[in-house]
């Protein structure tokens, strides 16, 4: 029903576009148009689609809760809790849809009938109201087309609002995510002291699990120390950057300054393809190839190496990040004005001197920005760590041991069964928001550094 209605509105809008354009051509024969004929079409189409679709959207949002209120009115005298009411409403809906399998009481049956009835009324009312709005707004718009009113401004204003609503949507969704993280995190911090979270050195949430009742506060105190996770996260990111920064930068320099046009044409897309490989592929590459390889080499040298070493995960993560650094630093170095290169060559500088003394320093802020973006990516990377670096949160600085990261722990916490009110589950949100803050800070620094660089040449 809804689908038909929306399709009808959209088809009608298309039709009115062509109708409006045609009408404009008719008007043209007798008087001067206020805008190009297509604007007449846009004007009619906008008036056709916008009010009807807005009402449709609002209706769809509010209808269920209004129907629910009506149904549950009959139960107000029974002194039920919110959860019980919700359960009854779910039963009524299931019964109305014919999927209910439990005991059917008379009362429930009555409610289900009422539900079906209400839904029917609501649907007919919706169709009627939307048709009325269509007729009203189209006739209003058609009248102003007939009067040959100004068409360009209303269309431009309409487009501005469409764009505004789109960006507002994006912003609101982001804010919503941040707030849901924040609220759950706050609930977590009611159970666990924020001090214990930030400075505690033991991460072992499984030990707080109790079948009934509240977990022991003493246990809570020692189970949610995030230090090992932060340490592991930054340690693995550090190993990754040790791989990615030298290789990425050197290949970026090669691409921007040394590679001939032919090589650059093929090399750059190939390096960028590395960025397109799904991280899960890197993950099993790390877990099944690099991890055992590192272990074997270590064992051959008489070292104790875990099969899930931080080194393997970090190294593979570094490979994943190479294209970011090489591609971005290539871009910023290519953006250094050619006349600076000319100035240096004309002084008799060689290529490597020019790179070292002019191009690299001039591009440095941009390069730092690209590295910071890469770091924030390394910190947020999940799949490789989950697969290759183990899940035990060891506090270690030995790259041959296994360690865990914030992202990997969030995965561990949220897969499988979980209770929502449990501090163990909520700890994922606390980890999430701290990760968010860290990457946000990195991004802010990176962007402000890059911005500073932009100002330098312009």
């Amino acid at each position: 029903m809804n689908l038909i209605l929306v399709t009808f509105i959209i088809l009608l809008a298309f039709t009115s576009y062509y109708f409006g354009r045609k009408k404009a051509l008719v008007i043209q024969s007798s008087q001067r148009l206020t805008a190009l004929p297509k604007f007449y079409g846009y004007y009619l189409a906008a008036w056709c689609a916008a009010p009807a679709l807005i009402i449709f959207a609002l209706w769809s949002v509010f209808e269920p809760s209004i129907v629910k209120t009506f149904i549950l009115q009959d139960y107000t005298d029974q002194n039920l809790t919110k959860n019980e009411l919700q359960l009854i409403y779910t039963k009524v809906k299931a019964l109305a849809a014919g999927t209910y399998t439990g005991n059917i009481t008379n009362f429930l049956d009555e409610s289900a009938n009422k539900y079906i009835q209400l839904k029917g009324i609501a649907n007919s009312a919706k169709v009627a109201i939307i048709l009325a709005i269509l007729i009203f707004s189209l006739s209003f718009a058609y009248r102003s087309v007939q009067k040959n009113d100004r068409m360009r401004e209303p269309v431009e204003i309409f487009l501005k609002w469409v764009l505004f609503v789109a960006s507002l949507g994006a912003v609101l969704v982001t804010i919503g995510i941040v707030f849901s993280l924040l609220f759950e995190a706050i609930r977590f911090f009611q159970a666990v002291k924020i001090f214990d979270f930030i400075f505690g050195t033991h991460w072992y949430p499984a030990k707080t699990f109790v079948r009934d009742g509240q977990p022991d506060p003493e246990l809570m105190k020692d189970a949610f120390g995030a230090v090992p996770l932060f340490a592991g996260t930054f340690f693995i990111a550090f190993i990754a950057m040790c791989v990615a920064i030298p290789i990425g930068l050197l290949s970026g320099i090669y691409l921007s300054e040394y590679a001939g046009r032919g090589i650059r044409k093929y090399a750059k897309p190939i390096i960028e393809i590395l960025a397109g490989i799904p991280t899960v592929v890197y993950g099993f590459f790390a877990a099944l190839t690099v991890g055992p390889f590192v272990k074997e080499i270590g064992n051959a040298m008489g070292l104790q190496v875990s099969a899930e070493s931080a080194l393997a995960a970090g190294a593979v993560m570094g490979v994943m990040i190479i294209p970011f650094i090489s591609s971005l630093s290539d871009d910023v170095m290519t953006a250094v004005p050619q006349n600076l290169r000319d100035g240096s060559y004309a002084m008799g500088a060689t290529k490597s001197e020019t790179v070292k003394k002019v191009i690299f320093p001039a591009a440095l802020p941009g390069i730092v920005g690209s590295i910071l973006l890469a770091v924030s990516r390394a910190v947020g990377e999940t799949m490789i760590v989950v697969m290759a670096s183990g899940l035990a949160a060891n506090l270690t600085m030995n790259p041959l041991e296994s360690t865990s990261t914030i992202t990997a722990q969030i995965v561990v916490i949220l897969i499988g069964d979980q209770q929502f009110g449990d501090p163990k589950t909520q700890s994922a949100f606390a980890l999430g928001i701290s990760l968010f803050i860290v990457t946000l800070l990195l991004n802010v620094i990176a962007l402000s550094v890059v911005k500073k660089y932009r100002e330098k040449y312009e």
Binding site: G260, G343, M347, G348, A349, K357
Partner: protein, 251 residues
């Protein structure tokens, strides 16, 4: 006395020929101006003299260019040495985004000219004085060179070019991005510099060519149409095309 002698120089960008059989004699310690409409090849020719065309991948140079009997258009030539001897100033001032001091010290550093800090200070000071910039910047040598005004930046580039004591300086429309006052300062500077160095200047302004140069070459469509003493070119040219260009009938 002839400093640079070019014979039958042909330049190609890919398959497109940009210069046709250009032969020219550039005299020592004089200012030679190259004029002509846009795209006539005068800048291309200038860039042959310090091998800056090497930077352009698709560019190919044929013919012979000799400086003091050293063949410039040869694979064996040490380009670094050549550019130490032949400085260049560009159309758009292009100081490095470094301090004023570092800008001037750039050439002496990469060529290992100064043995000590004092010697380097001396070179920087002399170069800036010769470029008539010393008095304006002597108290802020550690400020960024790109923060200077356009005219000052161009004089900084000239100071940078003369810091390695080149024998020849090439100038590619050095005043086209500058206001008249800065232009006058640069022209005055060119007049001073020619006592010690040979200058080849490409310019769009015919009055500038007339003011600063002793010899003038007129390029058109990749050919050197006429070359001779500036007075003669401007007052009594042999060629009708030169006459038309000088009097502003085309170009």
């Amino acid at each position: 006395m002839s400093k640079i002698k070019a014979e039958n120089v042909n330049v190609y960008y890919g398959s497109k020929q940009a210069l046709f059989d250009v032969s020219i004699d550039i005299a020592e310690k004089e200012v030679t101006a190259l004029i002509g409409p846009s795209g006539c090849g005068k800048s291309t020719f200038l860039r042959c003299l310090n091998r800056m065309n090497d930077v352009i991948e698709i560019c190919r140079v044929e013919g012979s260019i000799k400086m003091d009997n050293l063949e410039l258009n040869s694979r064996k030539l040490d380009v670094v040495r050549l550019r130490e001897n032949v400085g260049m100033v560009f159309q758009k001032p292009n100081p490095f985004p470094k301090t004023i001091y570092e800008n001037v010290a750039y050439g002496p550093t990469i060529h290992g000219i100064a043995q000590s800090k004092e010697e380097m200070d001396q070179i920087v000071e002399t170069s800036l004085k010769k470029a008539a910039l010393w008095n304006e910047v002597k108290d802020r040598l550690d400020e960024i060179g790109t923060g200077l005004s356009g005219g000052q930046q161009q004089r900084l580039c000239i100071a940078r070019a003369i810091s390695v004591s080149p024998e020849v300086i090439l100038m590619d429309e050095p005043c086209s991005a500058l206001d008249p006052i800065a232009t006058a300062q640069i022209e005055e500077l060119i007049d001073d510099l020619k006592k010690e160095v040979t200058i080849v200047i490409v310019t769009h302004s015919m009055s500038q060519a007339a003011r600063v140069s002793q010899k003038t070459g007129f390029f058109h469509l990749g050919k050197l149409i006429e070359f001779g003493p500036t007075d003669k070119i401007f007052k009594n040219p042999d060629n009708q095309q030169t006459q038309d260009y000088i009097t502003g009938r085309f170009g």
